[in-house]
């Protein structure tokens, strides 16, 4: 953080230097012109001052880029950390379409934020310097008027922010709706009554358009009315001083200062608009960010074996009529092989989550001989599991090591072949390095679940719970995969429907 602040201060100093030199070059030129002493030397001095300003500009730009990179990287790290700490239920509420809408907001966030903030700050510096010039030329009314104008700018910014916020929310909702319709196009084609295909679309679009119109009006006030209004005020001040009989050089200084303060005000208002945009983008990410962002704990060594005892362990979602898992007693010893069965909704997955520690029991007591995190690994069902866009090796080594040691890669390949992915490995041009995931090499349902199995086996947890992992497999493949799993696990719990 101190580095960021230091950089920011340096940017401001460099920018103040640049703008000061710029103003000074005009003072040299203007003074000499009115004094009638304009010579080649003066022009040379003017050019040197301008060139020095250019040097300052180079320094500012360089510092700004460093600032943008550091701030951007920090922001992205923070967002990822936040995402990884999310409540899984919140993510399940939103699928690819919704999350993508939010992620796209992050793409321009740091540009908007650093760009807006820097432009705004730079404009503030310019405004102060130009205001000094203007006050000298036109008198003490300037600071009072300028302050009033800045208050107006603040009000306009707040108004624009409010409207943009409403528009952004509506825009994301429209995007989500469209994405949902695209993803569900087959369902719409077969199940929807063609007469009702476009129900509600017009109304949503109209509401959105009127929000957009209101936001655009807010933007016009902020970026046109504020600077142009100031130009009008400044011109009126100038006219008053001319009418009062000010001398030519003072009038010249006043005229230039009016133009410069207008420029600074224009910069300030676009900077403020950028900041408002960033604020609205950030608000869309808010729900994805937890309050605290602690470092994830370092991985402690997990024990070889573990015993689990459950006494009356049950789970009840608040507000639901029935318990997700009625209390049960259970003991799992090292080396046990368990089949967990029951109809849909009987609490199999809930029990798996309780054993793995992702849920806390609402009744009863669960006792493990080791409480080291990672002792019990419950592999999520295929519907809730996910292949990351990346090499197959990364996907199977997710619970182990990445970037991998050669030994990790060797055991990854060994496990993949043992559970029946050998065929696939030979078929893919890049083998373990083949990119899989949404736009990567396409896997069948069965291959997908084998990759999930390989991922689980390679983590080497003392207790492994496989939730419906074998559901999509043919009997023959299942046999191979199950044998491999039995050879490589100490305690195995298989959830079967």
């Amino acid at each position: 953080m101190t580095r960021l602040v230091a950089l920011l201060a340096a940017v401001l100093v460099a920018h103040a230097g640049q703008y000061g030199l710029f103003l000074y070059s005009w003072i040299i030129l203007g003074g000499a012109t009115f004094a009638g002493e304009l010579t080649g030397t003066v022009i040379a001095a003017w050019a040197v001052t301008m060139a020095a300003g250019l040097g300052c500009r180079a320094v500012t730009s360089h510092l700004q880029s460093a600032l943008a990179v550091i701030a951007g990287a920090r922001l992205r790290r923070r967002l990822l950390r936040g995402a990884l700490g999310l409540d899984p239920a919140a993510v399940r509420r939103e699928g690819t379409g919704h999350l993508l809408g939010r992620v796209l907001e992050t793409e321009s966030l740091e540009d908007l934020a650093t760009g807006g903030a820097l432009r705004g700050l730079a404009a503030a510096v310019e405004l102060v310097l130009a205001a000094v010039l203007l006050t000298t030329a036109l008198g003490p009314a300037v600071p009072v008027l300028l302050t009033g104008w800045l208050v107006a700018a603040a009000v306009a910014t707040a108004r624009y922010t409010r409207r943009r916020m409403a528009w952004t929310t509506a825009r994301l909702a429209l995007g989500n709706d469209l994405a949902e319709k695209i993803a569900g196009h087959r369902t719409r084609a077969v199940q929807q009554d063609p007469e009702h295909r476009h129900d509600g679309e017009r109304a949503a679009l109209d509401a959105y358009t009127s929000l957009a119109a209101s936001m655009d009006r807010g933007l016009t006030v902020l970026t046109v009315l504020i600077p142009r209004g100031w130009a009008l005020t400044g011109t009126a001040l100038l006219a008053a001083s001319v009418a009062a009989g000010a001398a030519a050089p003072a009038r010249a200084a006043g005229a230039l200062a009016v133009m410069f303060t207008y420029g600074a005000m224009a910069h300030l208002s676009t900077g403020l608009a950028g900041l408002a945009d960033a604020r609205c983008a950030w608000a869309q990410l808010g729900p994805l960010l937890p309050v605290t962002t602690n470092e994830p704990p370092a991985d402690a060594a997990v024990p070889e074996t573990v015993t689990i005892k459950a006494n009356g362990v049950g789970f009840h979602y608040p507000g639901r009529a029935h318990a997700a898992l009625p209390p049960i007693d259970l003991r799992i010893d090292a080396g046990d092989r368990l089949v967990l069965e029951g109809p849909s909704g009987s609490g199999k997955s809930t029990l798996a989550a309780l054993l793995a520690g992702t849920l806390e029991p609402t009744t009863g007591r669960l006792h493990l001989t080791s409480t080291t995190p990672g002792t019990v690994l419950a592999v999520p069902q295929a519907d809730h599991n996910h292949l990351l866009l990346g090499p197959l090796a990364m996907n199977v080594l997710l619970g182990r090591a990445w970037p991998p040691e050669p030994a990790d890669l060797r055991s990854a390949e060994e496990v993949c072949r043992a559970i029946g992915l050998g065929d696939l490995l030979d078929r893919m041009p890049a083998g373990m390095a083949q990119i899989i995931g949404e736009t990567g090499w396409r896997l069948s349902e069965g291959e997908r679940s084998l990759v999930f199995l390989a991922r689980a086996l390679l983590q080497g947890a003392p207790v492994l719970i496989l939730d419906e992992t074998f559901g999509a497999l043919d009997p023959h493949t299942l046999d191979t995969a199950l044998n491999a799993a039995l050879d490589r696990t100490s305690t195995l719990v298989v959830v079967r429907h």
Partner: protein, 846 residues
């Protein structure tokens, strides 16, 4: 016709994985063959995982290019002696995915590359080679030796030796000596040695000596410098590591006859892709007068700003200022305030209209888009378009900025010339110099900007993946690992961003420096001629503004590719041909009769299902079983319209299943499949979806589908794609939705009970068979035992119906396929019943 153009035509891909057809369209266009990129996409079977390079090569050859797919050492790519260019080259993106670009020509140290992701770029050779995807492949030793002894290796080798300063005679001797040795290994070693000597910075005699030393002791050559190595355990094979490309040095002598081409490729030659310009003209037609008014207003506002400065000048001239100037100044400031406000409001209004029209059009068109259009594109790619539509609203604002800048660029030198004719020359030069400096540096900036964007995309994609996969990432405690990988990507991103800033700064300094020199020249020359100090100051004020114009021009031009991409992506659905689907009125109360004859379904060039003859009588109930991937779902998909038979006929009630009949059939189909979408709305809305709006859900339906308790505990939306339900719950919601459907003539139940326990499954199947008593019912499952209750079962294996009979009869035959499936299923069940497993059964009655 047929000559290779100097510039590779720009073909920008509109979908994330469409670089293959876009690169092919560019390559063809570069030889004067105009081909539609959208149709090539179909012809090359481009899918969510991209395009196979073989398909690209085949299509190129069929369309008349002398195209061949080759592998070569990466560093040979840019050597004229290797004859690699022009070619479609496989590169590697920051995400690790492969990507196709067209390497068109070499100009000194720079390659002209057409990257379908952005357009034409000019890339330094070394950097391009760093992006090339390195592929490893085993080839036959004899074939490789023939290549190594040919000019294909000899000439690039001699060229590289020449570059290292090795005298021609020594170079010839080295190559000859390697050629004299038997087999390919000596030549491969020489090739690797030359590469290592080059990388080591050896020159002239030192290089020759180093190469000779390495050739004598090939073990000393580093692994990464070898193009070809022995394949362990196979003396007949050579493993090569290098670039993969489809090179097309020219056109074939015989141009292709359109009649002999496959339909897709013929369409590619006859159809045209839409251009963003024409499309925007069509969409903005209603706003024409507004745009004209904005144009006039922009000119007026710019002129007003100049007039303001002129008035200021009269104000600061020595002596009393005339009273009218004060009034004029105030009036002008007021006018500018109103004009600027009106301009921004009008431009934003046009933008809103454009966006709204596009959104409405897209929503209208969406249901009519062909299934293949949506299914062959990654969901995230389509969703991104849905979320990015609003970018088009910025176009009129961009046009406004351009109009103002253009006016200023023209007017400013003119007014300077009016004040002081002698300053016209330096003023024009100042504008030209700063604009030219910007344009010269533009390709470098564009190239770095593209690189930055791919890194931004990769980081964002990774972030999205982490969000979607947060459940498994937590379960596997992979948070640190993910953050580490993200950090590595951020490192690459940061250096890409820094490179963009560096070139931008260079461009700015060059422009500003050139401008400053011109301004200083202008002022030095003008101060003798312009004696009025106010006039001189005005001249100076404007002259200083000149270089900034060049910079703004550069900034505007830089934004062009990203907006072009956005427009192309938005308009693509409108350019896709859709079928009009009339709905003929049909009557008749019972189920439909289905008849298939000689049907073949092809997907990705592979036959996935062929049915010689199949009749399903009206109202009958048939089970379809087989292993996953056997083609049983394809059979169901034929009736739903997901697949078109490449050959043969599908008859429903004796009529061919054309678009109109398909629409009718779908209205009367109850469809249950794990892929049926649940909407992010309430449970009741999901259940009554497709029926009359506002209809209630009868209690008995909830009871029937075990949903009473699910319904009791829930009031809010179910999450995107029903994410808040468990797999079994979601499946029961799909069942209940089908149960509520009226007028059902056909029921397609494809794995309808996934995620449900055995008892529930049996029970639901028994009920479901009574829900639509008159309808024809198809029950597709890989759980073979469920099929035994049916009168008729179709057993599908390897894309064919291998058995079609009564299941009990088939089960009784020891050598039947069905018996085999049953036994295998039993064996699995037995495994878990083995006493080595402890069984825990949860719940009971729900």
């Amino acid at each position: 016709m047929g000559a290779r153009r100097f510039l590779a035509p720009e073909v920008v891909q509109t979908s994330g994985m469409d670089c293959g057809p876009a690169a092919l369209a560019c390559l063809l266009g570069g030889y004067g063959v105009r081909a539609s990129y959208a149709r090539l996409r179909d012809a090359c079977q481009t899918d969510v995982d991209g395009t196979s390079i073989d398909a690209v090569q085949d299509a190129a050859a069929l369309l008349g290019l002398d195209a061949e797919q080759v592998m070569m050492p990466v560093d040979h790519l840019a050597l004229p002696e290797a004859g690699a260019l022009p070619a479609i080259v496989v590169t590697r993106q920051p995400s690790g995915l492969t990507h196709f670009v067209v390497a068109w020509r070499r100009h000194g140290g720079v390659l002209q590359v057409m990257d379908p992701a952005a357009g034409r770029t000019w890339v330094p050779v070394r950097r391009f080679l760093g992006d090339v995807h390195v592929h490893e492949f085993a080839v036959g030793a004899e074939a490789f030796e023939a290549w190594a002894r040919s000019d294909a290796l000899r000439r690039p080798l001699l060229r590289q030796l020449d570059r290292l300063g090795v005298p021609a005679s020594s170079a010839e001797a080295l190559v000859a000596a390697a050629g004299d040795a038997p087999g390919w290994h000596a030549l491969a070693a020489l090739d690797a040695a030359v590469r290592q000597a080059g990388a080591g910075g050896f020159r002239r005699h030192a290089a020759a000596g180093e190469i000779a030393r390495l050739v004598a002791e090939p073990g000393a050559v580093d692994q990464r410098h070898w193009f070809a190595r022995r394949t362990p355990g196979d003396p007949g094979a050579v493993t090569i590591r290098g670039a993969v490309l489809v090179r097309a040095p020219g056109r074939t002598a015989q141009p292709p006859a359109p009649d002999e081409l496959p339909a897709d490729l013929r369409a590619a030659l006859t159809q045209r892709d839409p251009g963003p310009g024409r499309f925007l003209r069509d969409w903005l037609r209603g706003s024409g007068h507004r745009l004209a008014a904005i144009g006039v207003g922009a000119v007026a506002a710019t002129a007003g700003v100049l007039a303001e400065a002129v008035l200021m000048r009269t104000l600061i001239s020595p002596g009393p200022a005339p009273g009218w100037t004060l009034a004029a100044l105030l009036a002008l400031a007021t006018i500018l305030l109103i004009l600027d406000g009106a301009l921004l409001a009008a431009a934003a209004g046009v933008g809103r209209r454009l966006e709204t029209a596009l959104r409405a059009g897209l929503l209208r068109r969406l249901p009519d888009l062909p299934d293949r259009y949506l299914n062959s594109r990654p969901l995230s790619d389509l969703a991104e378009r849905a979320h990015r539509l609003h970018r088009l609203r910025e176009l009129p604002l961009l046009a406004l900025d351009t109009a103002r800048l253009g006016t200023l660029l023209v007017l400013l030198p003119v007014v300077i010339a009016v004040i002081d004719p002698g300053s016209a020359l330096p003023a024009s030069i100042a504008v030209l110099a700063s604009a030219a400096a910007g344009l010269v540096l533009l390709p470098a900036q564009a190239e770095r900007d593209l690189r930055r964007r791919t890194h931004v995309g990769a980081v964002a994609r990774f972030y999205l993946d982490a969000l979607i996969g947060v459940v498994p990432i937590r379960a596997h405690r992979a948070g640190r690992l993910i953050e580490g990988e993200h950090g590595r990507m951020l490192g690459a991103w940061a250096s890409a961003v820094r490179a963009v800033h560096r070139t931008a700064l260079t461009a700015e300094l060059v422009q500003a420096g050139a401008g400053l020199a011109c301004t200083a020249w202008l002022l030095t020359a003008a101060h003798d001629r312009v004696s009025d100090p106010a006039m001189f100051l005005l001249l100076a004020y404007w002259a200083v503004g000149l270089p900034a114009l060049g910079q703004q021009l550069g900034a505007l031009v830089r934004r062009y590719p990203s907006y072009r991409g956005a427009v192309l992506r938005a308009i693509e659905p409108f350019a896709t041909p859709v079928e009009h689907t009339p709905t003929p009125a049909r009557h008749g109360g019972t189920g439909v009769a289905v008849h298939l004859s000689g049907v073949e379904v092809v997907s990705g060039g592979q036959p996935v299902l062929s049915v010689a003859g199949l009749s399903i009588p009206a109202g009958s109930q048939v089970a379809v079983v087989g292993r996953s991937g056997s083609g049983k779902s394809t059979l169901a998909g034929l009736l739903l319209g997901w697949h078109r038979p490449a050959r043969g006929r599908v008859l429903v009630d004796g009529a061919p299943l054309d678009a109109g009949n398909l629409a009718w059939l779908r209205r009367h189909t109850a469809w249950v499949d794990p892929t049926v979408t649940l909407w992010n709305r309430s449970l009741a809305d999901n259940l009554t979806y497709g029926g009359a709006p506002g209809a209630g859900v009868p209690e008995e339906v909830l009871d029937d589908t075990y949903l009473t308790e699910v319904a009791a505990g829930r009031s809010g939306p179910l999450g995107e794609r029903g994410g808040l339900l468990s797999g079994g719950e979601a499946q029961r919601v799909r069942l209940a939705r089908a149960r509520l459907r009226s007028g059902v003539r056909l029921a397609v139940l494809d794995e309808p009970f996934r995620g449900l326990g055995r008892d529930q499954r049996r029970d639901l199947l028994r009920r479901a068979r009574r829900w639509w008593p008159a309808a024809t019912l198809l029950y597709v499952t890989h759980d073979v035992a469920d099929a035994l209750d049916f009168d008729r079962v179709l057993v599908v294996a390897d894309g064919r119906i291998v058995e079609d009979d009564n299941p009990e009869a088939l089960a009784g035959k020891p050598d039947s396929y069905l018996r085999g499936l049953l036994d295998a299923e039993q064996a699995v069940a037995d495994r878990f019943r083995d006493p080595s497993w402890r069984r825990i059964t949860l719940g009971g009655t729900r």
